[in-house]
Amino acid sequence: MPETDRGPASNLPPLSLHIPEPRYRPGDTPDFGDIVVPDVGATPRPSEDSKPDAMRDLCYGLVRVLDFDGVAKGPWDPKLTPERLRAMLRYMMLVRAFDDRMFRAQRQGKTSFYMKCTGEEATSIASTMALDRSDMCFPSYRQQGILIARDYPLIQMMNQIYSNRGDHLMGRQLPIMYSAPEHGFFSVSGNLATQYPQAVGWAMASASKGDNRIATVWCGEGSSAEGDFHSALTFATVYNAPVIFNVVNNQWAISSFSGFAGAERTTFAARAVGYGIAGLRIDGNDPLAVYAATLWAADRARTNNGPTLIEHFTYRSEGHSTSDDPSAYRPSDEPTIWPFGDPIARLKLHLIALGEWDDARHEAQRTELEDLVKTTQKQSEKLGILGHGMHQPFETMFQDVFEDMPWHLKEQSAQMLAEQEAKFGPNWKPE
């Protein structure tokens, strides 16, 4: 026992190490009754230029707009037109149809990998719709909704997923690691949270140039534990950078529940408190809350009032990717018991409550979007599906390491081409 100034500590119990454990595992019956769901309209909406220390409660509450009967209420209601609401619903339905189709394509062996965003569609689509089209997005890997909401051609997404002849990334990147500068979409890395300081740098550059564009960035609650996350928040607060930080708290990082990123102690929005920046904790399954919070943060950033951290409280309804089976680590009925429902169903209900939508139109749109995805998939597959060395000339492997190819890469390229010739014969060409 250690000796202390207070004498031998022999009467203290031994130290014990806390290892977080989710409350429910496969076979358990989950009960989320203790999750606090504040009333819609109960959360005040401060002005966009409020001091962060005057709005700390928002880091611990939950901004909501839509109640569970589909009615929009309270100061955060963005009061979107029916046309805008229908556009939002359409984008969310499109990304879901896309996800289902591409997940199945992976299962059919047409590509190596896929990740769905089921249940989290609002966190990227409603968020992107609240931004200016020229604002720069630094996505993590589950933000395909950004591209959908900016009308990026579906076929280009599919070509990338298949690494086929139409893939402008020349088959270099794992599926879903898109890059679309013309659509304000930064190249997806695959390393976690590295995009966080990059978004801050982009925002600092925009501010230093007297531009009016802002940057937004996404990560999961799991990767908010990375050092890059904290580096980014430090730089953002130091330079008052015009950036919006989105933490998509979908409760799960592959098989690790949010407790391994600190959720047992506080909220993720509360990270903002320590950095002295604005923080908002919002219902991430409420598309109107996501839209309203993003618009608030964008207006704040654009008026030199600095960065905002938004925690999207949501739930990852499916596995992390095609590579894991969630029933191995959590109860299979958790997604349906999750108290915040489904973002598409909630927006649909809202539009119906407004008299601007109905079940028949919804079903017709679902079929239309599924057909669109299916037709596009056929076009994409004409350009090929994933296969070794089939779609890109072999020498493209050595291009773009540098702007100009140095001698050692030229030598290695020649060696590789000789290997391919030895294997396939002199007249072989990619399809």
Partner: protein, 346 residues
């Protein structure tokens, strides 16, 4: 050697002043160039490399950063994606490791992974090497970690004239460059004899530095001394140490200052070794998996039938850089003389 506008007005500069001048010229010429790092703003850097630049070019062009190397390099990647040309300083090369993921996985691969959608025209400046009683956290030579990254160029100047021309070329380069500055020779070339007075740069020809813009192309070595007896490959501080010992011993060595480690000037190396038939590689960094191993392998692959003796390496030892025993660690006159004697005997 000058590849851009011909310069007439020169000024006597030490390496710090030449590096400062390179940034000054680029800040003046290119409104997208920004200089950032710990203590680089008002104070002008712990080695004074950015002295006066903030006052002249303004706070949004030259500014201090948090003590956060991951943030410094990550933010610079984002600035590059916006269209700026960032020149971050890492205060000591020993501090670069917290930023290594942003360098290895992000900066170096951005062009490749995005097929030219995004590039990273960043130059990371950082002082490296020992000989200043810096102990194990202010003396390291991490160049072989940098050359092992695909997608990063690694540059090491050995005198004021080269430092300015290479730094301008690095800043103008559209790919990430790690610019390692041998801090032992910031103020004067080093003979290798720590107990002798330091000679200032003003007594050296390479201290005559043009005041304006000029480039020394990356990937080109310089022949410091022509000779027939053997080829010595060196860079940074070791160029001067090597020259001193060679002259003391009266060896007719050809000394090649690599200047850029990647892309390497293999033609210059090959031509020299084929001429002399012997090759000694010298660096201050630790021996195992050091850049000398790569050089020895390349020379062996390309010049084997011209070699009259095994390729020799003179390096630092595979220990952390010791504080009080740094001159026993440093590859100084005795180690170099021993290797020269050995390689010339066969």
């Amino acid at each position: 050697m000058m590849s851009a506008e011909t310069q007439t007005a020169t000024k006597t500069m030490n390496m710090i002043e030449a590096i400062n001048s390179a940034m000054d010229v680029m800040l003046e010429r290119d409104p997208d160039t920004v200089v950032m790092g710990e203590d680089v703003g008002y104070f002008g850097g712990v080695f004074r490399a950015t002295a006066g630049l903030q006052k002249k070019h303004g706070k949004t062009r030259v500014f201090d950063t948090p003590i956060n190397e991951c943030g410094i390099i990550g933010v610079a990647v984002g600035m590059g994606a916006y269209g700026l040309r960032p020149v971050p300083e890492i205060q000591f090369a020993d501090y670069i490791y917290p930023g290594l993921d942003q360098l290895v996985s992000e900066a170096a691969r951005l062009r490749y992974r995005s097929a030219n959608d995004f590039i990273c025209p960043m130059t990371v400046r950082t002082p490296f090497g020992g000989g200043i009683f810096g102990g194990q956290t202010h003396s390291q030579s991490p160049e072989s970690i940098m050359t092992h990254i695909c997608g990063v160029k690694t540059v090491i100047p050995s005198n004021p004239y080269d430092a300015k021309g290479l730094l301008i070329a690095a800043i103008e380069d559209n790919d990430p460059v790690v610019f390692l500055e041998p801090k032992r020779i910031y103020n004067g070339p080093f003979s290798g004899y720590y107990d002798r007075p330091v000679e200032p740069w003003s007594k050296h020809d390479a201290s005559a530095v043009p005041e304006g813009h000029y480039r020394i192309d990356l990937g080109k070595a310089a022949t410091v001394r022509e000779g027939e007896a053997l080829t010595i490959l060196a860079y940074g501080t070791m160029v001067h140490v090597t020259k001193t010992i060679v002259e003391e011993m009266g060896v007719d060595a050809e000394i090649i200052d690599l200047r850029t480690l990647l892309p390497l000037d293999i033609d210059a190396i090959e031509a020299s070794v084929k001429k002399t038939g012997r090759c000694l590689v010298i660096h201050e960094a630790t021996r195992t998996s050091g850049f000398g191993a790569e050089l020895a392998a390349l020379v062996q692959e390309r010049c084997f039938y011209h070699l009259e003796a095994p390729v020799e390496r003179v390096t630092g030892f595979d220990t952390p850089y010791p504080h009080s025993l740094e001159w026993a660690y440093f590859p100084g006159p005795v180690r170099i003389a021993t290797a020269l004697t050995k390689i010339l005997k066969d």
